[in-house]
Symmetry: C2
């Protein structure tokens, strides 16, 4: 009876873990599809309504979120998860347009700091207000309750994924 019961337990565990694997895979494919769709809308509207590209918007938003609107180039590149070359080219164009400026770190002249200018700040705010409106429209079919639970679950997932990524990097 014990062996029988243990076998059943093992079978139950396998099917449970398979079920949760399928359920996780479904969630992942849906997450991916949703992000793809929202990105398409945002990319199109940013460009058609504001002549701004998505990488440019992401770049400015990273600086905007910092308390002193500045970040070192290495950290900025890491967050934008694109190659250093691309960030350099993007920076050149944003500097030319007066939206950001380059500074050297006072304590280590080899470290380059990128600063959001006042013009860049104004420009970002203007586009970000619209961006927030589009996102609101895209999510409008979800009820306040669904939004609350979704935010809670995604917040937990985000934190759990960050912890797993850190463990992986340390391993």
């Amino acid at each position: 009876m014990k062996a029988q019961s243990q076998t059943s337990d093992v079978v139950a565990t396998i099917s449970r873990s398979k079920a949760s694997g399928k359920s996780a895979l479904r969630a992942w494919l849906r997450l991916w599809a949703c992000v793809g769709s929202v990105e398409r809308v945002v990319r199109t509207r940013l460009y058609s309504d504001h002549g701004m590209t998505l990488p440019r918007f992401d770049y400015l938003s990273q600086l905007y979120r910092e308390p002193d609107r500045r970040m070192n180039m290495t950290e900025l590149s890491r967050r934008l998860m694109v190659s250093g070359g691309n960030v350099t080219g993007l920076t050149d164009r944003l500097v030319a347009d007066g939206l950001v400026k380059r500074e050297q770190d006072s304590s280590d002249r080899r470290v380059q700091i990128i600063v959001l200018t006042d013009d860049g700040y104004e420009r970002f705010i203007q586009v970000a207000r619209e961006h927030e409106k589009w996102i609101g429209e895209l999510f409008e079919d979800l009820s306040p309750d669904q939004m609350r639970v979704l935010n809670q679950t995604l917040g937990q997932l985000k934190q759990s994924l960050e912890e797993k990524l850190n463990e992986q990097q340390e391993a």
Copy 2:
């Protein structure tokens, strides 16, 4: 009193819509962060454990999901949302490795069909099993109840976004 009440209604509507805008923006940033983290893990493990790139895996998975394991090049490019040039290069390499083959549509010789070969099918299955396992591990901190609600909400959001995208294209 009527005017007063109408004004309150308008104010209430504005703050409600602002609140929902913030809540939607938060959900969007979390969705994006989660997808970014999962993609990083999948990209790294696909390459380190199977010598396979993410675009290659996505390409094979599109064909795998079709009942007859074949798709025309135009549709495949659209789904992979990369430029035609990239898909052509990727196809060349997959053909060279014997994982897919090119065929011409019997009813219209200008239409190119891509077919998953038996080798491609076997190779994809092998990697997809592992992929499903990684995804299961990445989502393991969510309870079965959370997974169920998440899948439900994301399913609804996915459909709503697709409808909005279709309306936009038709407009």
